[in-house]
C-alpha cells in the first residue's frame, strides 16, 4: 500500500479523485498534514489543522452496495482502532461518524464517480488526533484524542491500523 505524503492539501479526497481519474492504483493512500478545504458530506467543512490525521484511499472498483457497506465498516474500524489502543469508549454514529464522550472525533466520506458502473471511488477519513483546541462553534460538538487522553498519539501507527482493518474488511465483502 503506497502512501503519498503531502504537507498541505486543499482536500485529500479531492487529490485522491484527481489521481484516481488519471489511473492511480487501488489502495494508494493520500495523506496530508493539514487540509485547507477539508469537507464532509454535503460539502460541510471539516476542521483540518496540523496535528490531525487526514487521509484518503483510492478504492478498488467495487459494486455501489459493497462500497456502502465498506463505508459503514470504516466507521467500525476507526472506532475499533481507538478502542484497541486507548482507554476510550468510542460510539459509532451512523452513517459515518465516530464519537467519543458525546462529541465527534472522526468522519468518513466515500465519494463514487458513477456512470453505468462505478468509474472510481475514494474514501476519506478525518480523525481528530493531536488537535489541541477547536474553534468556538465546534468546541461543544468536536473533540480529539489528545483532548480526551491528555497526551499526544502516534498518527502513523493509527493510520496503519486503520488501513490494515479496511483491507481485510473489503476482502470479506467483495472478493
Amino acid at each position: 500500500m503506497q502512501i503519498k505524503n503531502f504537507k498541505t492539501l486543499s482536500s485529500t479526497n479531492q487529490k485522491a479523485r484527481e489521481l484516481a481519474r488519471t489511473g492511480a492504483s487501488p489502495w494508494e493512500v493520500i495523506l496530508a498534514k493539514e487540509q485547507v478545504s477539508g469537507y464532509g458530506r454535503k460539502g460541510t467543512a471539516w476542521f483540518s489543522p496540523k496535528g490531525g490525521l487526514y487521509f484518503s484511499i483510492i478504492l478498488p472498483k467495487s459494486q455501489v452496495e459493497d462500497l456502502q457497506t465498506l463505508t459503514i465498516l470504516a466507521a467500525f474500524i476507526v472506532a475499533k482502532t481507538i478502542k484497541d489502543n486507548f482507554p476510550l469508549e468510542p460510539f459509532i454514529k451512523l452513517p459515518n461518524d465516530v464519537w467519543v464522550n458525546n462529541k465527534k472525533i472522526a468522519g468518513i466520506l466515500t465519494e463514487n464517480i458513477v456512470a453505468r458502473t462505478v468509474r472510481f471511488s475514494v474514501m476519506g477519513i478525518g480523525l481528530n488526533t493531536n488537535i489541541d483546541k477547536f474553534p468556538k462553534d465546534l468546541e461543544n460538538i468536536a473533540t480529539s484524542l489528545k483532548i480526551e487522553l491528555g497526551k499526544e498519539v502516534d498518527n502513523e501507527k493509527i493510520l496503519k491500523a486503520i488501513l490494515k482493518g479496511l483491507k481485510e474488511q473489503l476482502k470479506t465483502i467483495s472478493e
Partner: protein, 126 residues
C-alpha cells in the same frame, strides 16, 4: 397433437385462455370458443403487444437509492460524455453521476432534495 384426416395431417393445439374460454389452433390458425368477439379481441391485443422498449434511448439511472442533492445541468443543454450531471447522496456516500453518453438533455425527471429509488431513471438524453 397431430390428427390425420383423409391423408392430411393437422397440427392441433388446444389451450384454455381463461374462464370458460378455449383456443384451438389448427395449423397455425386460431379459433376461439365460449367467448364474445370483444373478449377475443382483448386476448389478441394482449398477446400481440410487444413490450415497448426503445433501445436507442439514452437514460441515466440511479445506481442506488438516495437523495438528489445537486443537479448541474438543465433541460435542452448539450452534455459531453463523462460530464458531471448530478450528485446523489445516499446515507453513507456521495455519488457523482457522470454521463455515459454525449447528447442533449431531453428530460430531467428528478428535482433537488428528491428521494429516489435505485434503478430509477433520472435523466433522458437524445
Amino acid at each position: 397433437m397431430k390428427i390425420k384426416i383423409k391423408d392430411k395431417v393437422y397440427d392441433i393445439e388446444i389451450q384454455e385462455t381463461g374462464s370458460k374460454k378455449v383456443k384451438i389452433t389448427v395449423n397455425g390458425r386460431e379459433f376461439f370458443f365460449g367467448e364474445t368477439t370483444e373478449a377475443r379481441e382483448k386476448f389478441l391485443a394482449a398477446h400481440a403487444a410487444i413490450p415497448k422498449r426503445n433501445f436507442t434511448k439514452k437514460e441515466i439511472k440511479a445506481p442506488i437509492a438516495g437523495i438528489i442533492s445537486k443537479i448541474f445541468i438543465k433541460e435542452g443543454e448539450f452534455v459531453k460524455k463523462d460530464q458531471k450531471l448530478l450528485i446523489l447522496s445516499s446515507m453513507k456516500m456521495e455519488n457523482e453521476i457522470v454521463s455515459d453518453f454525449e447528447g442533449k438533455v431531453k428530460e430531467i425527471l428528478v428535482k433537488e432534495n428528491q428521494n429516489i429509488k435505485g434503478g430509477e431513471v433520472l435523466i433522458v438524453l437524445t
